[in-house]
Symmetry: C5
Subunit: 87 residues, 5 copies
């Protein structure tokens, strides 16, 4: 999994039926020092995250491990909001 | 998922039977600022996207989560056309 | 999926039984402008491609979506020979 | 799989139910010479690793191959603590 | 798949039960010209490879396509020893 910060969201009128009602957020990925890089993911939100939150993202088939996402055409999901990182 | 812009399409006469009739588009991937990079994907179109559209692409096994693609030998699909991105 | 050019082939006497008889080709991956980079894949050929052909490669579990490859230990397959790319 | 060193841990109060009770560690990935890079993974610990340990991480669907993780929304797990590497 | 050279092996006393008895090798990945890069994989050996051998590695779920590895927590396996590469 990776750490990132929610920086925005997006709207798409034409989309695959499995994504109807999906909340898709843009997540800037963080490097090892906690700085945010130019890399990002569009992620399906499963934990009611908001802009500015530091989140845990999961990629690949595991992003479909929830009842809400099991039939969705997604490859990345937000699965936690981070309170504290100890390095 | 990633954001990208449809920049072209391709024709392949010799292809795997599972791809017969498939509409394969070339998508330039966008970086965090919305600029398009030299990275690209060849993606199966599931939402009738056109050249110039800003789209959402999904990779891996999720690209096969539709009736049309479940038996196709693909690893990337276009699953939405983006109206607006708020950063 | 990605675009690449077949640049060679390889022989392996000791290999996993699931790869017996497999035709494994070396594919140089192309960048967005169609130039070939130093990146490559070793790919299982499903469409009788030859050296010099511009091909479509698919990665991951989708490379096993054919009767010939469903039990093979592969993660990349050639699934089309490209006639024309319009950018 | 990759080699890395456990450098920290994280706390997340809001998280997906499948991650309740999960021990999530931050692992700095090592390069070929054994030096630790700026790349990292957030990994689910299956072997009771601690900060400073050199560990083996596995990514993707294999991280869910244990009874404890089979329904967890994870894409990386720690599956071994390394005693010695011979190069 | 990728080409690489076996450069070492590793010992791990604490590891996931599914890896008991597993022979884990370190493989330096080769670039297009056959030079070995700083990138590597820790790979499960299925073909009795030795240090110095040029091998084919497979990543992801395909590395679990053998009776010996189907329940193992691995994401990379050695599936062939290369005799000759023609470029």
């Amino acid at each position: 999994m990776n750490l990132g910060r929610v920086t925005g969201c997006l709207w798409a009128s034409a989309k695959h039926p499995s994504l109807m009602g999906a909340k898709l957020l843009i997540v800037s990925l963080a490097d090892q020092s906690g700085h945010f890089s130019s890399q990002y993911e569009v992620a399906y939100d499963t934990v009611d995250a908001g802009v500015g939150d530091i989140v845990i993202t999961v990629r690949g088939s595991s992003s479909k491990m929830t009842p809400a996402t099991e039939k969705a055409t997604i490859d990345c999901a937000i699965v936690g909001v981070v309170d504290h990182v100890q390095r």
